[in-house]
């Protein structure tokens, strides 16, 4: 199969997942609602003191992304399992890598859309100076989300097909995400407080390394995980 057909197959999978998501919308709305709720609950838990809230904001934002985003991954495979679609999907000629990359793109778009709602809302609730470091923040959000979604899409391919899927996915996924959480939270919080020390850059480099390592590893290992 040529690179071009594979690119077409990747696009087809991503298009199919997003189209389904767009038609139903209910899932997206529920996930956004959960994210909003989480932001509010953290606000109550951390008290009304604006300074305390602002100090914790970076961590709260990323945990909110993690907790709401993780709901998208199993669902992405649920779609394939419902009407025996996975079987048809696995029967198409060509590499199974395209299935992973297509789902990765669709999940990435999904989680980024969720962030588009939650991050501005967090800025309002926690009084964050979002507009100043906007470019840097967008880059951190993107890099962190790529790593998160890459591993989420990979582990959900296994977790969605066994009995304890709701528990097992976070159990496998969250420990692996420690570097993403640490780096993304540190970079975000540095940017929000003006990045006087210039730390954000090195954290972004770490995120980048993480993304490269795990997108590559997942692509290579996916064939062994999705097939029978």
């Amino acid at each position: 199969m040529s690179m071009r057909t594979e690119a077409g197959r990747i696009a087809a999978v991503a298009w199919k997942d997003l189209m389904t998501e767009w038609r139903t919308k209910a899932n997206f709305n529920a996930v956004v609602f959960l994210a909003v709720l989480t932001l509010l609950l953290f606000g109550f838990a951390l008290g009304p003191d604006t300074n305390a809230l602002r100090a914790a904001a970076a961590g709260v934002i990323w945990l909110t992304i993690l907790f709401s985003g993780v709901l998208a991954f199993n669902r992405s495979y649920q779609l394939e399992l419902e009407h025996g679609a996975l079987e048809a999907l696995l029967l198409y000629p060509g590499s199974h890598k395209s299935l992973y990359l297509g789902k990765l793109l669709a999940n990435l778009a999904f989680v980024l859309m969720v962030e588009l709602v939650t991050v501005p809302l967090a800025a309002v609730l926690y009084d964050l100076p979002l507009l100043g470091p906007l470019g840097g923040l967008a880059l951190v959000l993107f890099l962190g989300t790529v790593g998160f979604v890459a591993l989420g899409t990979f582990y959900a391919a296994m977790a969605s097909r066994i009995r304890a899927r709701e528990v097992l996915l976070p159990l496998l996924l969250f420990p692996m995400l420690v570097p993403v959480i640490v780096a993304a939270v540190e970079a975000t919080s540095a940017l929000l407080s003006g990045d006087a020390m210039g730390d954000a850059g090195s954290w972004m480099r770490l995120l980048f390394v993480f993304d490269v390592v795990f997108v590559t590893a997942s692509v290579l290992a996916f064939e062994h995980v999705i097939g029978e």
């Binding site: 692996m176 062994h224 995980v225």
Partner: protein, 242 residues
């Protein structure tokens, strides 16, 4: 009388019981001896006092865990490459031993931290990395327990074993950088020759113990799989073949 089967496990496994048993006694001897010697030759440390003795278990266990996860990585790659079930069983045996060793490392770390710093837990990079590895590989074992089909279980756990190991350096460096920003205490380094000798001695002893753990687990799961394969063969019968 059975039909020959495709699995390499179908032959009666060499009951490596004798050799493994010797290894077991050797491990016991090595660990007891190593601890005894280290206990006797160690002088109270300038910073740690007698608490330093905890290090003779804590540090070798941590090293062993690293060796264990390296073995898991290599065996997992070999499995996906060759699809030989024995590599999967080896990886699983090494994960179990590794989880025991990381668990032990964590407990001893806490027991050491309490009298030293007055808290059970500090975010020391090595200790924190150990904790994360403990959870990652506990997840590996959980995944195995939820998957019935032996072949699928082997493929899936190989993938998890490989990705988990790739994460070790990334986790370590991220926690270390994170820590330097937030100024957390770290374990003091000692270069007292007696202390170093004690550590080395016990590292070797724990390595023997680790090999014993893995060998014993590997032998029993190999026997178990071989028995399952025979029972499978007994269930396969009848019908016509054209």
């Amino acid at each position: 009388m059975t039909a020959s089967t495709s699995s390499a496990l179908s032959q009666a496994p060499t009951r490596g019981g004798g050799r493994v048993r010797i290894l077991g006694w050797l491990a016991l001897l090595a660990v007891v001896g190593g601890q005894g010697v280290a206990f006797l030759i160690s002088r109270p440390d300038r910073d740690m006092g007698h608490l330093q003795k905890i290090m003779y278990v804590h540090v070798p266990a941590a090293w062993c865990a690293m060796v264990a996860f390296l073995v898991v990585f290599v065996a997992s790659v070999l499995y996906l490459w060759r699809r030989d079930e024995r590599h999967d069983l080896l990886a699983a045996a090494a994960v179990e031993a590794g989880v025991v060793m990381t668990g032990l490392t964590l407990l001893l770390g806490m027991i050491w931290a309490k009298p030293t710093w007055g808290v059970w837990w500090t975010w020391d990079p090595r200790l924190t990395t150990t904790a994360i590895l403990f959870v990652i590989y506990a997840g590996y074992l959980a995944l195995r327990s939820f998957t019935d089909d032996a072949e699928r279980r082997a493929r899936w756990s190989a993938a998890v074993g490989i990705l988990g190991f790739l994460n070790v350096p990334i986790v370590y460096f991220s926690v270390r950088w994170w820590r330097t920003i937030h100024q957390v205490q770290s374990s003091p380094a000692t270069v007292d020759p007696a202390y170093v000798l004690g550590l080395r001695l016990n590292a070797v002893a724990f390595l023997v113990l680790f090999v014993y753990f893995v060998a014993r687990r590997y032998e029993s799961s190999k026997l178990e799989r071989a028995a399952e394969t025979r029972i499978e063969a007994a269930a396969l019968t009848g019908g016509i073949h054209v």
